[in-house]
């Protein structure tokens, strides 16, 4: 079976700190990482391949430096990697990104299942996965926490919801987005890293993937960012002193004054 995993390179947020004075992000020395949710997608692709046989192709849209994210996926064991990159993609919103990735997946060829992380940790939209499915005209299930069964024509998954989970079955080809609970991603092996270093990454631009120029980048993006600002910092907290009983009483008093209990 052919599995395609979509990944995004994002700033490594573990190192994101907020400057308490200006309340802005301190980004100096922040390295780029594979979006954490996408590592679960990679792992699931690899597990499915180990179970079913076949191939895992990883694809990313981004600037040339996103190549390092793809190499990381290769070092975990993905078979092939594709980077869709073109200055014409600048300013893409989720719709243009979904379209572009769908075009890239179209060029990869036949596939059974596309796997995405539930969302990227920089944009937090969770819109690109279902958007790709719509553009590819295939069914999709989001927030998958377990693949119960998969065979040549069908997949049965558990989808995490607010009050529990749903068991859903759908025909292939299809797309899923996965949550953290689905697996524990492996670390790259030494052999994998050696192989990834030498591996050739396919680099495709806008004309390679035969996309319509009006549907990519900023012209293909119906939404625009008007303004970016940092939220006002939370007001400094008040420490409640005393022994535990006194602290508890003070807190209850405060909560009652605020009319929240």
């Amino acid at each position: 079976m052919n599995f395609i995993v979509c990944i995004k390179q994002v700033p490594g947020t573990t190192e994101v700190k907020i400057n308490p004075r200006t309340n802005t992000l301190i980004r100096e020395g922040v390295e780029s990482i594979v979006n954490p949710f996408d590592t679960y997608a990679i792992e699931e692709g690899l597990r499915l391949k180990e179970r079913m046989g076949g191939k895992v192709t990883v694809i990313s849209m981004g600037p040339p430096q996103a190549e390092s994210a793809l190499r990381e996926a290769l070092s975990m064991g993905c078979d092939e990697a594709v980077l869709v990159t073109d200055p014409a993609f600048a300013g893409s919103d989720t719709l243009a990104t979904s379209y572009t990735l769908a075009c890239g997946i179209g060029k990869i060829g036949e596939f059974d299942l596309v796997i995405c992380g539930k969302q990227a940790i920089d944009g937090d939209t969770a819109q690109v996965g279902p958007g790709i499915a719509e553009k590819l005209e295939i069914p999709a299930v989001t927030y998958v926490k377990k693949i119960e069964e998969i065979n040549e024509g069908l997949v049965r998954v558990e989808r995490m919801m607010e009050e529990g989970y749903e068991v859903i079955e759908m025909g292939l080809p299809a797309l899923i987005t996965v949550v953290k609970e689905i697996n524990e991603p492996r670390l790259p092996s030494l052999k994998g890293m050696m192989r990834a270093r030498k591996a050739k990454i396919q680099i495709w631009n806008a004309s390679d993937i035969a996309c319509e120029k009006t549907r990519i980048g900023q012209p293909g993006s119906p939404t625009i960012v008007n303004r970016i600002f940092t939220p006002p910092p939370r007001k400094g907290g008040e420490m409640l002193l005393g022994d535990p009983e006194e602290q508890a009483q003070k807190l209850v008093e405060k909560l009652r004054q605020a009319k929240v209990i």
Partner: protein, 409 residues
Amino acid sequence: MGIEIIEDKCSGCSLCVKYCPFGLIKIVSREEVGRPHPKYKKIAVIGQGCNLCGACLEPCSFQAILIEREEAKPLADISQYKGVWVFAEQKKGEIQGVVYELIGEGRKLADQLGEKLSCVLLGEGMDEKAKELIAYGADRVYQIEGSILREFQDDPYTDVLTDLIEKEKPEIVLMGATAIGRSFASRVAARLGTGLTADCTELAIDLEKRQLLQTRPAFGGNIMATITTPHSRPQMATVRHKVFKKAIRQGNHQGDVVKESVEGKHLSLRTKLLNMVEDITQTVKLADADIIVSGGRGLGGPENFHIIEALARTLGGAVGASRAAVDAGWMPYSHQVGQTGRTVCPKIYIACGISGAIQHLVGMQSSEIIVAINKDPNAPIFKVATYGIEGDLFQVVPALTKTLKEVLG
């Protein structure tokens, strides 16, 4: 189209560098890049990957950054789109809480625009609920009935809603940023080719341009972005729970119900919902909870979570957990609050024995009141806490439960 550093103006001061959310701006020597200047020795350069977000414009004191956006041709028929719609998500025939919040906010937007507020209700046997939506302030309810619509499924729901939007042409469509809403809205927007903004926490109208100003957190809430959909309609947004006030039920509000049936119509259905399994460990849903009591590493083990549960029960709240507690296997993943878990914004969030790593903070820092109970006075959680209690949670939490029981009866 694109972003440009105006050579004459840039002093290479590096102010913009730290404002770029993507870390793409570098300061280089002008000599090296062959752009000499009589006064300035350095210049900013912007690496590939810029999405023209504009965060760098404001901090630049020299007006040396220029962003040009290609003005898309305004679509001729944009003015045909009128009115505000709310998708009335139902589960097992019950309207979800966030819908009433959307009606409250949608009512304001519709009034500002001088247009109608409508709800779209898909399901089976929903007559009574349609009337309820009107009582809460909808001017019209599109009630689409059919056995295939009884539970949410992407395909038939997408078919029905896109058809209805194409026919009736609303200018704004709002949905709850629920598990269903976030995937469903994306499908619909992609099929219509219109703009969608995820997980908004603030909505406003620019009356002059007749545009919806959609504000949402990004980077885990560390920055806010205001997004518009200038040239396509409808303007679609998913909206976070608990951000807007619920509409108030007014028995005398008048409205009409446009009822249609899809029985016999061809709708696609490529997924099959086999079963719904309720999470028995969640007596109160995290997403809906007004009060959340969360436990972290400080609890020391799963056997101690009962004190968190007792406090939550006394307050009628939900139980949350930090990633550390979930990874250690003390609580199921469905309770995890934070970047890789759920984002919550209750009225009261009580963090017990949670140090407050940034990944946890981004999942709860928009809560109205944050209470932190921790024995380490330097724990970062105290920096975001409205009320901080330095102390042993094994003493403070039971004392709090006891006091609350006395006060609340």
